[in-house]
């Protein structure tokens, strides 16, 4: 039987973070490992006879010993610490089961290999011994001298022999020794991973580790290693030490440890996931900020270009609008210089003082020059590229964790065993959680009991109409808002052109600036109010399943946000950027950057308002006026979508406002504390079940797909095909931003004809659309293959699951056979015993 189960020994045991569905079979592999272990003790026949004898003696006592209470349990546990004690287990037979099988069968059953996994220390040790063996066999690509030391035989040669000898002896000591040997021969990181994963107590693990280390040292001193490998050893140790200290340093950086603990202690995993998501977004921004400030802001700030504009005075309104005082600072695109200009050559002087009055070309030809346009181009490009990689990586990881073959059975079991949130430590929340679990269990029971309640045709029709009405309302309101924004932005744009032409502007700059705020306020207001309408529609629809209603809410909010952003992007890139004939804007990039700053800020202010109104005032209202004891529930989906929206703005704006990530960082920091205190003060733990890992996956996907991808498409479009403004910024005078690279390559070629290959490669790779197509095609093909692989794996998993079920059937069959054999054997044995007693 075990051979049948032994379908795959090459599974990635060690990657046993168990993150992808491929790893699932790890759990089922243990039959074969343990069969070997089991058969080593006695020969099965002898065992069975012995068991039978004992069982005959003890049959009467079974139930008494079961009833003997908890003291017995502890005694039993202590005995377990020592040796293989499955004889003892027969006495533990549960009353319920005793009715089904005879106790002898139960004994055999409970000593079946699959049942002994991890039961005694010996079993654990030998299980992990087998795992280490397998690991070693797989890593045997580089057999080193150490492996051939006499104390530890290399697994390729000695594998069979070791198995045999184990079968012969099988005492715990030798098993232990072998485990130690194996541990010793693993690489350092593998050993640590293995040690950590063994379910033994820390004290024992330390012993194992100590003996493995000791052995290693002994073999090393015995077999005179050349000094270079000793050096290697020391280097490895040093690297490991520094890695550990780096880890603890990283750990000390962990933000908001205490705050997160308090939130999770009170609200559990669901609400915590919002704050963790906020933290993830924050880290993306910190990364962006570090990159842009190191490569753009600092070099530019250290060497300011000549002041060409009048310095605006600081009035305070700038904090809101981002214009005026800030407009000619490192914050915006327009401030950054390009080196083809005469004046900016002073920058070059910092590295090479002798060339203080060179022309642009001279500057370019200097080796130590810092080519700002190029730096700008590549910094933004690299930042986006790395962000993309990180996002895709975390997305795939998240998918791996939450992707399961969703078979609907064993829901109740999961509910019972996996629904208790061990993080929750506050008394009220614990109470609430057990109430929730109780109601969920009741609901599930009811569901299981009458599964098929068919709706009548009328009911279904009614539901369908309600849903379509709700969707119609949502889509109509979204469309109306989007059209409104479209015309309003157009109006504002024309208004701006007129005011900038008329001399009035100079008289009343404050009013002009304030008028800039109108569009962001309107958009944020829509963002605040429409989700309320959507909630109303969802309330009208009255979804039965919670997950469906969550998905619907997310879909509607997403629809709104995406369409708003699309209109805004059209407004900025299609209208403001191409509309330079009027020349009312000196620098459209800076203007768009300011707009994005305003949007980000308004989004923040309105989410504060939302917190205040929806959470604080509503709580006051419901507790004071309505006299309800329930507090509002924190709406995770809505809040996360707001975060995603804000992050999209930040990504859109990096190109125009290199310091926008800094603003976003401050915003997120404040938001964290405000949301945290609001949640603590105003909300109660969610009453409904919430599938955290699934939702996290969805959110990270949303952050990647419409949000990041949309932003990067806009940025690439800007770089490739919109002409930068001619009087400001690092790309002035170029047809598009992307030409900065081309020009640089041309200069390089002029300087050094040998590099013409590079120039040709550049023109071929970057300018040729064919390359882009080929790249995209390869990308698509890779994705296609991956999806095919996943599909195949899914099929395999289904097959394996079927196989498991078949094995279960086989087992049942064998057990009944066993039972009947026992029945037959018992009758003659009884007769025998009665004869004995009569003698």
């Amino acid at each position: 039987m075990a051979r049948n189960v032994n379908f795959d020994l090459n599974h990635p045991l060690m990657e046993a973070g168990l993150e992808s569905p491929v790893d699932e079979e790890v759990v089922h592999d243990s039959f074969s490992q343990l069969i070997a272990e089991q058969s080593q003790n006695e020969s099965p026949d002898a065992y069975e006879l012995q068991q039978l004898q004992r069982q005959l003696d003890e049959e009467g006592r079974d139930h008494i010993s079961y009833l003997s209470g908890p003291g017995h349990n502890y005694r039993e546990r202590q005995q377990r610490q020592g040796q293989d004690e499955w004889q003892e287990d027969g006495m533990q037979t549960d009353l319920n089961i005793g009715e089904r099988w005879s106790s002898a069968t139960m004994k055999i059953l409970s000593s079946m290999p699959s049942r002994t996994i991890g039961r005694s220390r010996g079993a654990i040790i030998s299980q992990y011994y087998n795992r280490t063996l397998e690991l070693r066999r797989r890593r045997q690509t580089r057999p080193s001298i150490r492996d051939f030391s006499p104390s530890a035989r290399p697994s390729i040669r000695g594998y069979g022999m070791e198995r045999d000898s184990i079968d012969g002896e099988g005492t715990e000591m030798t098993k232990r020794e072998r485990l130690v040997n194996n541990l010793q021969n693993l690489s350092m990181s593998d050993r640590v991973r293995m040690l950590r994963a063994i379910p033994l107590s820390v004290a024992e693990k330390r012993e194992l580790r100590a003996s493995a280390l000791q052995k290693e040292r002994r073999t090393r001193s015995a077999s005179q290693i050349p000094c270079c490998s000793q050096l290697k050893y020391y280097i490895i140790i040093a690297v490991r030490q520094s890695w550990y200290s780096w880890l603890s340093f990283l750990h000390s950086l962990q933000l908001w440890q205490v705050a997160l603990k308090r939130v999770s202690g009170r609200f559990g995993t669901a609400v915590l996931s919002y704050f963790l998501f906020l933290k993830t977004v924050l880290f993306f921004n910190i990364f962006l900020f570090l990159v842009t400030s190191a490569f753009l802001v600092l070099p530019q700030a250290a060497h300011p270009p000549g002041l060409h504009a009048v310095r605006h005075s600081f009035s305070g309104l700038e904090l809101l609008t981002g214009a005026g005082y800030f407009s000619d600072t490192v914050m915006y695109y327009g401030y950054y210089c390009n080196y083809t200009l005469h004046s900016s050559c002073r920058d070059d002087g910092r590295q090479n003082i002798s060339v203080s009055n060179g022309t642009g070309l001279d500057c370019m030809s200097k080796h130590l020059s810092y080519n700002m346009p190029l730096a700008y181009f590549f910094t933004i490009g690299a930042a986006f590229f790395i962000t993309c990689i990180i996002l895709v990586y975390s997305m795939s990881k998240s998918f791996g964790q939450s992707f399961r073959i969703d078979k609907s059975h064993s829901i109740l079991a999961m509910k019972v065993f996996c629904s208790w949130d061990f993080k929750v430590i506050k008394k009220n929340s614990v109470k609430l959680m057990s109430e929730n679990i109780q109601t969920q269990l009741k609901e599930l029971l009811a569901e299981v009991n009458h599964k098929h309640v068919k709706n009548t045709f009328c009911q279904r029709l009614w539901r369908l109409t309600v849903h379509s009405i709700a969707w119609a309302i949502c889509i109509a309101s979204t469309t109306a808002c989007v059209i409104g924004i479209y015309f309003f932005s157009q109006h504002m744009h024309q208004n701006l052109q007129q005011t900038s032409r008329s001399p009035l502007t100079s008289q009343n700059p404050l009013r002009y600036e304030a008028s800039l705020l109108a569009l962001p306020v309107v958009v944020s207001l829509i963002n605040l109010l429409l989700p309320g309408l959507f909630n109303l529609a969802a309330w009208m629809e009255d979804y039965e399943s919670l997950s469906v209603s969550t998905y619907v809410a997310i879909a509607r909010n997403l629809m709104l946000k995406v369409s708003i952003l699309a209109v805004l992007c059209y407004h900025w890139l299609g209208r403001v950027a191409t509309d330079r004939d009027n020349n009312h804007l000196m620098c459209w990039e800076s203007f768009v950057g300011q707009e994005l700053y305003r949007f980000l800020l308004m989004d923040f202010i309105f989410s504060l308002l939302d917190t205040l109104l929806a959470e604080f005032l509503w709580r006051l209202f419901s507790t004071r006026v309505l006299k309800r004891r329930r507090k509002p529930v924190f709406d995770i989906a809505k809040n996360v979508l707001e975060l995603i929206y804000g992050q999209t703005l930040a990504w859109l704006g990096v190109l125009f406002t290199p310091l926008l990530p800094a603003v976003q960082i401050i915003k997120l920091m404040l938001l964290f504390y405000i949301k945290k205190s609001s949640v603590m003060m105003n909300c109660q733990a969610p009453r409904k079940p919430y599938r955290v890992s699934q939702m996290t996956t969805i959110f990270i996907t949303l952050l990647c797909f419409p949000s990041f991808l949309g932003a990067s498409v806009c940025v690439t479009y800007t770089m490739w095909s919109i002409a930068p403004s001619s009087s400001c910024g690092p790309f002035r005078g170029l047809k598009n931003m992307f030409q900065a690279g081309k020009r640089w390559v041309e200069e390089l070629e002029k300087d050094n004809p040998n590099l013409s290959v590079l120039a040709r490669a550049h023109s071929f790779l970057v300018e040729n659309p064919l390359f882009l197509f080929v790249g995209a095609a390869i990308f698509l093909i890779v994705i296609y293959f991956h999806s095919q692989v996943v599909d195949g794996q899914r099929k395999i998993i289904n097959l394996l699951q079927e196989q498991i079920e078949n094995e279960g059937e086989d087992k049942k069959f064998l057990i009944t056979r066993l039972q009947s054999i026992h029945e037959q054997k018992r009758t003659p044995a009884r007769r025998l015993r009665s004869q004995d007693s009569s003698c």
Binding site: A16, G17, L18, E24, V27, S30, N73, Y74, R77, D89, D94, N96, I97, R100, W101, M106, S114, R115, R119, L195, R196, A197, V202, K205, R206, R209, Y244, S245, S248, H251, L260, G265, T269, Q401, F403, R404, A413, M414, V416, F417, C418, W420, F422, K423, I425, K426, V430, S434, E435, I437, Q438, K442, L445, V692, S693, Q694, I804, G808, K812, I815
Partner: protein, 187 residues
């Protein structure tokens, strides 16, 4: 640095780091948490491995465990003597398994032990009843408890012997992605 040296030797810290999912800092923090439970019992010098055990009453009064219905089981499972009295090693072990980094297999193993109230290495109906009563604070009626027990065993028991072995349990856990995030205590 000097402070660390007086509590543990460097080797001890290394060993702890290799055997748990904690960094140096966290190990020290956990030590202080442990010590704060009974400052008069726990010495500040662990270099010669003193034999100190904190009784269950102290362990169970930690805020992380105080209101957890399974606190006694957790303490019992992780303590060497099976009665909830913990040495520092046991204490570290407990929080290491319950930490974020621990793999699913390890967590599932200990979760199984926790739910196996009578220590017979199987989750049988009586264990399930106890689990349910703890989960719902005895609010379910006897009938409901019985039904839930039957259903759970029916769903998760692969070999039809009427109780869940570790293998059955692991097989079920694999399909519950939530488990990793809920079987986790923040320190």
């Amino acid at each position: 640095m000097g402070n660390k040296q007086t509590i543990f030797t460097a080797q001890q810290l290394d060993a702890y780091q290799d055997c748990t999912y904690f960094t140096r800092k966290e190990i020290l923090r956990l030590f202080y948490r442990y010590r704060d439970l009974a400052p008069q019992l726990v010495p500040l010098d662990y270099t010669n491995q003193p034999d100190v055990k904190l009784p269950y009453e102290l362990i169970g009064s930690m805020p992380e465990l105080k209101d957890n219905p399974f606190r006694q089981r957790i303490a019992e499972v992780f303590s060497e003597d099976g009665e909830g009295n913990m040495t520092l090693d046991d204490f570290l072990d407990m929080f290491s398994v319950l930490s974020e980094m621990a793999p699913r297999d390890l967590k599932a193993y200990y979760a199984f032990k926790i739910y196996d109230f009578n220590n017979d290495d199987f989750i049988c109906k009586s264990d399930l009843q106890k689990t349910l009563n703890k989960l719902t604070r005895n609010e379910l009626t006897e009938d409901e408890v019985r039904m839930v027990c039957e259903k759970v065993i029916d769903e998760a028991d692969l070999d039809n012997d009427g109780r869940l072995s570790l293998e059955d349990f692991q097989h079920m856990i694999v399909r519950a992605p939530e488990f990793l995030s809920t079987f986790h205590i923040r320190i």
